[in-house]
């Protein structure tokens, strides 16, 4: 089948580029369909911020450094929420997997 296509004028650069474009479009459509619903991402982000708040508040209670624990951990919690979202859309590897490639 591939040999046939190549015979039909796939030899020139523009034909090959066109076929690559088609393949890329199909791939992109496939990737788009795999994306989860936005509501899932909202819950992930929310969860990170709430976890940051809880830890920061507990930290302040234990050390008496209010409000610094809350400030720092809320920001870190926001980062954790973004991390959750990036994981859920598959932009980052899962827990414990290598991320240097």
């Amino acid at each position: 089948m591939t040999g046939d296509q190549r015979g039909n004028g796939g030899d020139d650069l523009s034909g090959r580029l066109r076929r690559l474009d088609e393949k890329l479009d199909a791939r992109e459509a496939e990737e788009m369909r795999k994306q989860p619903a936005p509501s899932a991402n909202a819950a992930d982000r929310f969860g990170g911020v709430v976890a940051g708040f809880a830890v920061g508040w507990a930290f302040d209670k234990l050390t008496g450094w209010s409000p610094w624990g809350l400030i720092v951990f809320l920001l870190l919690g926001f980062a954790a929420g973004v991390l959750n979202v990036l994981r859920s859309i598959g932009a980052l590897p899962k827990y414990g997997e290598r991320r240097d490639k």
Binding site: A79, L83, Y95, G96, E97
Partner: protein, 249 residues
């Protein structure tokens, strides 16, 4: 006619069972529906039968089993099948309660964060306890990503731990918020019909067709959400269990 859209979520005490210290243990409408769901699921499985050519109930039970087993195998692998009873119970419990909630006049148990939070806590405690029991200290490698420069490691580890802590929160909030918001929307659209009919007369009845058709579409959507949220809870449970089984990959 303008019904309070929140009134449907009120917990009502049916009878008092006893006291533990200062706390009253009461049978509530929520508890009654949970008991009904358990009876429904267990009864459904018991009555399903074991024929070679399955009847309707047996087909349903078998399809549900195959569906959950397929989900567990594809996300947590064959080792995850030892958690199949837990995952199957969670899935059927949430699904049946969500579907009960779709029947008019019934109580939606999963619209209370106390319930979904308890389920999420059960899942995450299972993950932590089993993860530490199975892998020992290696379980904490979950928070120690490889290939990260050493000087940002302290920051990354804190963020990873917060991300892990946020899992039960987002797990419970997702299910609870979807059920709560969906049922409020249904109630609000339904009360529009009554409001239009009582305030505008015949014209109101005609205009009322608009919210009514919206209501029909939303009801269909809510059935989808009721199923989808049960499935999302299940698949996330499997993913988290997968982390407990293989923390380093």
């Amino acid at each position: 006619m303008a019904a309070d859209p929140i009134a449907q979520f009120q917990i009502k005490k049916i009878m008092t069972l006893g006291h533990i210290g200062p706390y009253e243990i009461a049978l509530t409408n929520s508890a009654v529906f949970m008991i009904a769901a358990v009876v429904f699921i267990v009864g459904g499985i018991m009555l399903a039968g074991r024929n070679i050519i399955p009847g309707r109930a047996q087909s349903l039970a078998e399809i549900t089993y195959e569906f959950v087993a397929g989900t567990v195998r594809s996300t947590a692998g064959n080792e995850g099948m030892k958690f199949f009873p837990l995952v199957f119970s969670l899935f059927t419990f949430i699904l049946v309660l969500n579907m009960f909630g779709m029947i008019p006049g019934f109580f939606t148990v999963m619209s209370h964060i106390a319930i979904t939070g308890a389920l999420a806590a059960l899942v995450i405690l299972t993950v932590i306890i089993y993860g530490i029991y199975k892998n020992g200290f290696k379980f904490f490698k979950l928070f120690w990503p490889s290939g990260v420069p050493m000087f940002v490691m302290p920051l990354i580890v804190v963020i990873e731990i917060l991300s892990f802590l946020s899992r039960p929160l987002s797990l419970s909030v997702r299910l609870f918020a979807n059920m709560l918001a969906g049922h409020i929307t249904l109630k609000v659209f339904a009360s529009f019909i009554g409001l239009l009919a009582t305030s505008l007369g015949v014209a109101g009845w005609l205009v009322g067709i608009l919210p009514f058709s919206m209501l029909i579409a939303l009801t269909a959507l809510e059935f989808l959400v009721a199923f989808l949220q049960a499935y999302v809870f299940t698949i996330l449970t499997c993913l988290y269990l997968n982390d407990a089984i293989h923390p380093g990959h």
